[in-house]
């Protein structure tokens, strides 16, 4: 029997993952910084038509693309003359489990069944748990969902508790944990014990599943509006939503810029017991968005298939209060109760649409289901009970973990741009690790793709990083 000791289990992680995802990542490695990303993605052997067939089999996808005419009209009242793009939304809440994550789960569960696994495990506090539970229910596979849910006083985040309920309602076993990154240790032990498939959010299957979303939105936009969208906004956390959407759009021949949006939770530590319940958003925030964008391989598989910096053209943040506000707006102006977390991209769209010409098409690529625990009323009540100040004012005055400020008027919904060069340099620094020399041509080429930047920028940035290191070690 192998040791269950923390460090012993962590040391076995690559071997455990290899048998739990049915994929040998080592054959894509180059021995240097880079690896064969496209080779990894192609290893599923599935075409877009195959992916769409799997989606259909699980009753996933083909969600409607809706025009939000009232929200557009309101945005135009707060925009310069002639500005205010038409805002469209892909109503992903219509998926069986209530979010786009169904696409990610469908392909993973399909593969798990095909490879002969008896069950599937996933580690998530988000909508992905319900998505995997839903697909397992349909495929007749066993399902375990591992959640980070409570702080040390036993107080649970209501949104996560609702997700536990939904997973159980769909027949899954839910294992709940207190705060801490050692969730991964529990997860690894479970994989070893059960021999189930790891429905990681970061395998090529998961990302290829999301490609169906990018594909669909491009095709639907063409069919309904006679042309491609002018921009698409996706919420960014682990990077899979963005990566899959971008790849799917490209496969459909759509070259519209892709804008990433995250809720600003700067200053809060994601692994802190004391700060865990001081945030109202459990995903879609900078606490995941930043680290995963600048270092994708921190995920639960050796090489993440979600590599957002390759695909994003712009990255913005928005505050919790603005997203709650837009969730109310979606309800009272469009008659749609969704979110709130899934409305991060909608809140961003309300800001960015006002920069764009009036005849432009701007797609918000998701919505998610709402309900007890998740609803903005539940979230704000919980936040207030945790001592967070809730008020109406200027959302720019918010301090994550201390206050949530709902805008006084729609004009105050304004996304804030992040410096992409800084994110790119941060990725390069991580990729270099301890290296003291300029990487070879193959690795430089990989890093240029990885950062979606020109080779000259990559080379100059690396030179700078190496010089800075030399300075500090002297």
């Amino acid at each position: 029997m192998s040791s269950a000791d923390y460090s012993a289990v962590m040391a076995r992680r690559n071997a455990i993952m290899k048998s739990a995802v049915g994929l040998d990542y080592s054959r894509f490695e180059s021995g240097g910084i880079g690896f064969d990303y496209e080779g990894l993605m192609a290893s599923t052997g599935l075409s877009m038509q195959d992916v769409l067939a799997v989606m259909k089999d699980f009753n996933v996808g083909n969600t409607p693309l809706l025009e939000l005419k009232n929200i557009t009209a309101l945005a135009r009242k707060y925009a310069p003359e002639g500005r205010g793009a038409r805002i469209l939304v892909k109503d992903e809440a219509c998926n069986p489990s209530g979010s786009f994550k169904a696409r990610r789960a469908a392909l993973s569960v399909h593969i798990a069944k095909k490879l002969g696994y008896k069950g599937v495990i996933t580690a998530t506090s988000g909508n992905y748990g319900a998505a995997v539970a839903s697909c397992c229910a349909k495929a007749g596979l066993r399902c375990i969902v591992v959640q980070e849910c409570y702080d040390s006083t036993g107080t649970g985040q209501p949104e996560i508790i609702e997700k536990a309920r939904k997973c159980e309602a769909l027949g899954a076993e839910v294992i709940q944990l207190s705060v801490g990154p050692e969730l991964f240790y529990v997860f690894l032990r479970l994989l070893e014990e059960t021999g189930y498939f790891n429905a990681s959010l970061y395998t090529p299957y998961a990302i290829q599943g999301v490609e169906s979303l990018g594909w669909e939105l491009a095709r639907q936009c063409e069919a309904q509006f006679g042309r491609q969208p002018d921009a698409v906004i996706a919420t960014n956390a682990g990077g899979g939503n963005l990566t899959g959407t971008a790849r799917g759009m490209m496969k459909a021949g759509c070259r519209a810029p892709l804008i990433a949006a995250s809720v600003d939770l700067s200053g809060l530590h994601m692994a802190s017991d004391g700060q865990f319940n001081r945030k109202s958003f459990t995903t879609g925030h900078t606490g995941f968005g930043m680290p995963f964008t600048t270092w994708p391989d921190r995920s639960d598989v050796p090489r993440s298939a979600a590599r957002p910096l390759r695909y994003l053209d712009r990255y913005v943040t928005i505050t919790q209060g603005e997203v709650f506000y837009m969730t109310e707006m979606l309800a009272v102006l469009e008659g749609m109760e969704r979110g709130p977390a899934g409305n991060t991209s909608l809140a961003t769209a309300f800001s960015i649409a006002r920069e764009m010409p009036g005849d432009a098409l701007l797609i918000v690529q998701e919505t998610e289901y709402t309900g007890a625990g998740k609803h903005q009323n539940a979230q704000l009540d919980f936040a207030r009970k945790q001592g967070i100040e809730i008020r109406i004012g200027n959302p720019k005055d918010q301090v994550p973990g201390r206050s949530i400020i709902l805008p006084e008027h729609p004009g105050q919904v304004e996304a804030k741009d992040l410096d992409l060069s800084r994110l790119r340099r941060s990725l390069l620094g991580r990729a270099l690790d301890g290296a003291a020399e300029m990487p070879g041509e193959a690795d430089l080429d990989f890093l240029a793709r990885e950062t979606n930047a020109d080779p000259a920028f990559v080379k100059t940035s690396i030179q700078q990083i190496l010089e800075d290191r030399h300075e500090t070690t002297r």
Binding site: I144, P158, L177, E182, H269, S272, L333, A372, H409
Partner: protein, 101 residues
């Protein structure tokens, strides 16, 4: 006293404070990593006593019995007056300017 076969919830300490991962922040390092599971009780047990359950996937798990017939009680929360104000403001911003009620 819960009976064998009852649906219950257990808690268990997975890592004690001294065993936490080296990278956790100070406040997290001071508390244990706790796990909660649900299942059918294998033998009679009372609240606060060690117990074993058979989970939904048929696995045996051990812990301390913390709840009998566990249920969900999360809700939509108490009244948040700010949300009502915001709703009214949004409707007015669009419709009143267009001359509608």
């Amino acid at each position: 006293m819960a009976k064998k076969g009852d649906w219950v919830r257990l808690s268990a300490v997975i890592l004690a404070p001294g065993q936490r991962a080296p990278q956790v922040p100070e406040d997290t390092a001071l508390v244990p990593l706790v796990q909660w599971v649900k299942g059918w009780l294998e033998e009679d047990a009372g609240i606060g006593q060690p117990a074993r359950v058979r989970t939904r996937t048929g696995r045996l798990m051990e812990g301390i019995l913390v709840e009998e017939t566990p249920a969900f009680s999360h809700s939509f929360g108490s009244f948040i007056p700010e949300l009502l104000t915001v709703q009214q403001g949004i409707k007015e911003a669009l419709w009143r300017r267009e001359g509608r009620p």
